[in-house]
């Protein structure tokens, strides 16, 4: 047997070896004992089909590759691609996308708008973490801690002092930034793996602290009935609290719960756009360049008179502030927060968004947030295999695009001629 055939046979066998135990065998209880059942004929057929396909794919890998290389023509005619890459075209494209994002929820379904709001929260978180991990190169596994600080600051201020969402938003951001600064100090001398471990611990400390501070935070039960944001003082609930007016009464509309959902979406969109704008400007400011320089070479930074301490702390602080904003919005949207909303898996998802999007890339973060949140929602029916698919997606990404979906583009700076 020659080599391609042998390889192809081996691949086909591998399909069976992997797929049969996972899909083909089912465990069932019969009384107190476990029984192993075989799979249905259709499942076996599917596995057989997959193995045949892989067999053919490996067998004809070489001619297929030649075929692909042979058709070297560009997909898009050059004139069109020139037009598409013009800065003015791209600016108008961006404006159109933003306009679309503002308009569609008025026509979209309630569930879709709700999911989009969740995506926007993760966009904010991803953008914030991108400062720390993508730009400054400091691997932070406890980012969810700042998210929790933001959420609890709003929840507690609203619960005990009766403050509204809009007053609390900047306070939550500042408090999270303060925690970012506090975490920054002890980890100044750490890098890489060591930094990751310490920040991981920090995230867990905040969660466990919140869970055990029962007298103030309600412990594992969390805080419920958190007020929703108001529209210039108008409540979007069916009935307003004493003395307040509701949105639908003021405008003489019938009460519609969709108003609230759309309003929350619009707030999230606004916050995400502000975050996008601010970080985009930061990137082109001396501090943004210093973050990247720190990621590239800390010693060279010092030799040029850049103070690494200030740069690191500013990255931690600003990154945490965005998590604080996202957190207080999250609390307002959910109306109920518990420490279990802020487990390590959240940090992992946010980090996955940053890595998947392409470290340092803003648009990459947006795209990756959509992928990471939308895919599980769309694949609810396969929810048993959700983690399997998640893992498969990660493996495929690392094989095909290790630099991320939309890797960071270096800014092209025009010189005077």
């Amino acid at each position: 047997m020659n080599k391609p055939v042998r390889q192809a046979l081996f691949s086909a066998l591998l399909v069976w070896a992997v797929a049969y135990p996972i899909f083909g065998l089912k465990l069932a209880f019969a009384g107190v004992t476990l029984q192993v059942h075989g799979a249905s004929a259709s499942t076996l057929g599917l596995i057989a089909g997959a193995s045949v396909l892989l067999f053919l794919r490996v067998l004809f890998a070489e001619p297929l590759g030649r075929l692909r290389k042979g058709s070297g023509k560009p997909w898009v005619p050059p004139r069109v691609s020139n037009y598409l890459t013009l800065p003015s075209t791209q600016r108008w494209g961006l404006v159109a996308l933003v306009a679309l994002a503002f308009v569609w929820p008025f026509f979209g379904s309630r569930g879709a708008v709700d999911t989009a709001t969740l995506i926007l929260i993760y966009v904010m978180l991803g953008l914030g973490l991108n400062i720390v991990v993508g730009l400054a190169g400091l691997l932070d596994l406890g980012y969810v801690g700042f998210y929790a600080v933001g959420a609890y600051s709003y929840a507690l201020l609203s619960h005990y002092l009766g403050l509204g969402f809009w007053e609390c938003l900047p306070i939550a951001g500042l408090l999270a930034a303060l925690f970012g600064l506090l975490l920054g100090f002890p980890v100044l001398r750490l890098r890489g793996d060591y930094l990751a471990i310490v920040t991981l611990g920090f995230g867990e400390i905040i969660r466990i602290f919140l869970r055990n501070l029962t007298s103030i935070t309600g412990g594992p039960n969390g805080i419920s009935n958190i007020e929703k944001p108001t529209f210039f003082g108008l409540s979007l609930e069916r009935r307003a609290a004493d003395g307040a007016q509701t949105f639908h009464q003021f405008f003489g509309l019938d009460y519609n719960p969709a108003h609230k959902v759309v309003y929350l979406y619009l707030i999230a969109l606004l916050l995400a756009l502000v975050a996008l704008f601010v970080i985009n400007r930061l990137l082109r400011m001396p501090i943004g360049r210093a973050w990247e320089a720190l990621r590239e070479d800390e010693i060279a930074c010092r030799a040029l008179g850049l103070n690494p301490t200030v740069i690191k702390l500013s990255a931690f602080t600003l990154g945490a502030a965005f998590a604080g904003f996202a957190g207080s919005f999250f609390a307002a949207r959910q109306g109920l927060i518990t420490p279990e909303s802020f487990t390590f898996i959240e940090s992992a998802i946010i980090l996955a968004i940053v890595v998947l999007g392409g470290m340092g890339s803003q648009l990459g973060v947006v795209l990756a947030a959509i992928v990471m949140i939308l895919l599980p929602e769309l694949m609810r029916e396969f929810s048993d295999y959700r983690m399997l698919m998640f893992g498969a997606l990660m493996v495929l990404m690392m094989v095909w695009r290790p630099q991320g979906l939309l890797p960071m583009q270096r800014p092209h700076l025009e010189l005077r001629q």
Binding site: P286, L306, P411
Partner: protein, 256 residues
């Protein structure tokens, strides 16, 4: 020693545990001089550099920059006072473009206000424009203008060396310290380097402190040479004095 020394080092020593890497090194550098430090491999030349630039905290001795003691200060503080260095193995920000490398180094001369940058105020725009103009000036000087938007890590070795010197010049240094700038350069590039160091001194009034093994280069551009062997000062003088010094010849070539 006289008062008009820009840099004055005396009795500098650096001990790592039981190892005395630098022992009682002294030197005096006047404004606009080119001073070289030579010595066999492992003599402690780079350790002296690390002490002068604050990467190590010297265990003894004094370092005066224009009469002000700077020994033991953190590296970035010393750099802000105008003592800037290059590295033996080039340390550029490799993923960033050449011009970005130059912009980073100008942080002291830029408008770093948060809100100024956020809203792109006129003063922010002006300071960025000036930084770009200065970066462009130096890219032209070191013949890298065509590579301005290339990631620094993709440049050829000689180009990276030139970019690193240009990046130091962005900080408007008083003393530029070059750690083996000619290592890995071909003879033509070494000649260019020699011309560049001349330009630094004549046009920009920069004082240059040099570690170098290329004796032809050292002898032709130095005003003063300090020889170090096994951490201790061996000789000190003009190129002619050092060239004829029997102790130096012995250290380099072994016993006759």
């Amino acid at each position: 020693m006289s008062q008009n020394n820009l840099l004055e080092v005396s009795g500098l020593s650096m001990r790592f545990g039981g190892l005395l890497a630098v022992n009682g090194v002294g030197m005096a550098v006047k404004e606009k001089q080119v001073v070289s430090m030579i010595g066999p491999n492992g003599a402690g030349k780079t350790t002296v550099f690390n002490c002068l630039t604050g990467f190590y905290r010297p265990t003894g001795g004094t370092i005066l920059l224009a009469g002000e003691p700077i020994q033991g200060l953190p590296g970035h503080t010393i750099a802000r006072k105008g003592v800037v260095r290059t590295f033996q193995n080039v340390r550029l920000f490799k993923d960033m473009t050449a011009v970005e490398n130059l912009l980073i180094a100008q942080h002291q001369h830029l408008n770093t206000g948060f809100f100024a940058g956020l809203f792109k105020t006129p003063s922010f725009r002006r300071s960025e424009r000036e930084a770009m103009a200065y970066a462009e000036h130096w890219l032209e000087r070191v013949d890298l203008k065509a590579f301005a938007n290339r990631p620094a890590g993709t440049l050829a070795y000689g180009q990276q060396r030139r970019l690193e010197i240009a990046r130091c010049m962005m900080t408007r240094p008083r003393i530029l310290m070059l750690d083996e700038p000619a290592a890995g350069l071909n003879p033509r590039e070494t000649d260019d380097l020699k011309a560049l160091i001349g330009v630094l001194r004549e046009e920009y009034g920069t004082t240059v402190l040099l570690i170098e093994h290329d004796m032809k280069l050292v002898m032709s551009i130095s005003d003063h040479i300090v020889v170090i062997n096994q951490g201790s000062p061996l000789a000190d003088g003009t190129p002619e004095q050092v060239r004829g010094n029997p102790a130096v010849i012995k250290a380099y070539l072994g016993e006759a």
